[in-house]
Amino acid sequence: MAVMTILKYPDERLRTVAKPVEQVDDALRGIIEDMFETMYGSQGVGLAATQVNVHKRLFIADCSENGNEPLTFINPEIIERDGLHENEEGCLSFPNVYAKVERAGKIKVRALDKNGDTFEREAEGLLAICIQHEIDHLNGKLFVDYLSPLKRDRIRKKLEKEARLAAKLD
């Protein structure tokens, strides 16, 4: 297993629209394993393949308290949504940035699991938010797109500055 590099905003590759997965095989399962290691290593609760520069429709999540419920979603689609909730979100591609985003409170998702079998799952709370957030990534959409241009610009400047500082330190 290996920890992968997470693309950081404003990296243009985060805007790529991912392609459907045609075959769930060992190569893909290898990527999934690496993604889990990457996510757990950075205190994430969800990670889309797009964020590690793999442009396939695939994301992983673990929204449990103790980090022991790994979930894999391949070719996911949301088939039902209900209610609206505003919640604070963060993103591994936006270190230390948090913002309130309005999303459906309850959803039903259909996807393939890591064995290639279709499953449906209802979700609410943090998991529902996470699934919507990750599917956005697969479509090249980021949570800051829901914010005003002013706020988005402020976040971009902040992250660019931090990247410059980090580059200097290295």
Binding site: Q43, G44, E88, N96, Y98, I129, C130
Partner: protein, 445 residues
């Protein structure tokens, strides 16, 4: 996706804001906990309150565990250590989780490089806990400031003012306050509202220490269990408010007749303004405060309780800027003060106030008192109030005032011994109210 910023980093940032930047807890907590869940927010707050209550002990422990103080650039890590120690000493958090999560907080405050150091310090404390705590107890036996978690200057002032009872005051300052309610007498007597609470299965009791001469129908109610205030019967309609027992005596002491002009001179946030209008609905109240942003809370309070007052932004010590020349029948002067009576609610006060602030406040209070006295009708009454326990701001202040004016006389408070000479000094009490002071003055005709 990543989860919102966790509680421990937020707690460290709050402590830094208070102890380093001099901001108050009530300013720092909202901005730093905005993105926490409700339970994380409560956890971060509990840590901050506990650390501020026993700060000298925590600082002593850190001084034993690290060789030299952390420099200003990495000072945030000092506050992370306070947060870690607090969990290990005083919170019901499993030690492994306390340490792991606190170490992780270093990343969130961008001090990844000091993770190892935080881990080592917290583990060292864990290993030596017994002997360190024993040494701390020995040290504390020699230092009242360390034992009671108060700054030395304040301990000295309390010792001078209360040679016998100062340790009890310090102890009460370190205990979380009980939950007091004020019943809107336009809707219920206290006994009626208490019955309503009991019917809902909420444990509560009437003020059991009400002095004689005070009407029990207006007694404060103490909740004996935690409750979400917004769920209390009639809360949103303004039938009940949250207000400490001691502060509730203001409207009782300043008795007003229908039609009287009443000035609430330092009104924000408006709790007492509203209380006056509940007790005496037919009076005309002017609510004055110098801080325009805090006056918004007066407007909010008046709106929630559906009562009217003229809200004026102005300086109580400079009436020329706002006064229309009409004298007042009653004035409530809840003067700006050291707030040393409400330390149990605001433990940050101990570290934000400095010894020389007291002289400044005493001078300001005298100035306001002199100015307000000019606005009072002959025969009218002025109630001087503070949430301080220091005599300089209270009985000495009034004695000074009485020595300089010739048309003021003290009005005794029924049931309170010596109140015409020294006023009524309430001390903080674990089961009772906050530290508070009242003196009632009347202008000779």
């Amino acid at each position: 996706m990543s989860k919102a910023a966790p509680a421990r980093a937020a707690a460290a940032r709050i402590l830094q804001q208070v102890l380093h930047n001099g901001r108050s807890l009530s300013q720092a907590i909202p901005s730093e906990t905005e993105r926490l869940t409700q339970s994380e927010r409560a956890f971060a707050q509990a840590i901050c309150y506990q650390v501020l209550r026993q700060l000298p002990a925590y600082e002593w422990l850190i001084s034993q565990l690290i060789e030299k103080p952390l420099k200003s650039k990495v000072r945030i890590v000092h506050y992370i250590l306070l947060v870690g120690l607090c969990q290990l000493r005083d919170m019901r958090v499993p030690a492994h989780a306390a340490i792991a999560e606190t170490v992780e907080a270093c990343t969130q405050v961008r001090q990844k490089n000091l993770k190892g150091m935080v881990n080592a310090v917290l583990r060292a404390y864990q290993r030596q806990q017994e002997s360190l705590e024993k040494q701390l107890a020995n040290q504390a036996a020699l230092s009242p400031a360390l034992l009671h978690g108060h700054p030395s200057w304040l301990v000295k002032r309390l010792q001078n003012a209360y040679p016998d009872t100062w340790p009890a005051i310090c102890t009460a300052n370190n205990q979380p306050p009980p939950f007091w309610l004020r019943v809107n007498s336009q809707h219920y007597t206290s006994a009626e509202y208490l019955a309503l609470l009991h019917a809902k299965g909420i444990a509560a009791e009437l003020d059991s220490q009400l002095p004689t001469g005070f009407a029990s129908e207006h007694a404060a109610i103490r909740l004996l269990q935690g409750a979400d205030v917004t769920q209390l019967p009639g809360f949103s309609e303004g039938h009940v408010s949250v207000q400490d027992r001691s502060a509730q005596f203001a409207a009782h002491l300043l008795q007003a007749e229908p039609g009287m002009r009443v000035l609430d001179a330092c009104a924000a946030p408006g709790g007492k303004t509203v209380h006056l209008l509940e007790r005496y609905p037919a009076i005309q109240v002017t609510a004055l405060d110098a801080d325009a942003s805090r006056l918004q809370r007066v407007h909010d309070n008046l709106a929630r309780m559906q009562v009217h007052a003229d809200v004026v932004c102005g300086d109580a010590s400079q009436p020329m800027g706002w006064w229309n020349g009409q004298l007042f029948d009653r004035i409530l002067l809840d003067a700006p003060c050291s707030a040393t009576g409400v330390i149990r609610r605001h433990p940050d006060i101990k570290w934000l106030r400095r010894a020389d602030d007291i002289d400044t406040l005493v001078a300001l209070q005298q100035q306001i008192l002199q100015a307000q006295w000019q606005l009072l009708k002959p025969g009218g009454q002025l109630l001087y109030a503070t949430c301080s326990v220091l005599p300089e701001e209270n009985k000495l202040q009034i004695q000074q005032f009485l020595a300089t004016v010739n048309d003021a006389e003290a009005v005794p408070i029924a049931g309170i011994a010596d109140s015409a000479a020294t006023g009524w000094q309430l001390l903080p009490n674990a089961e009772g109210g906050d530290g508070f002071y009242y003196f009632l003055l009347q202008k000779r005709t």
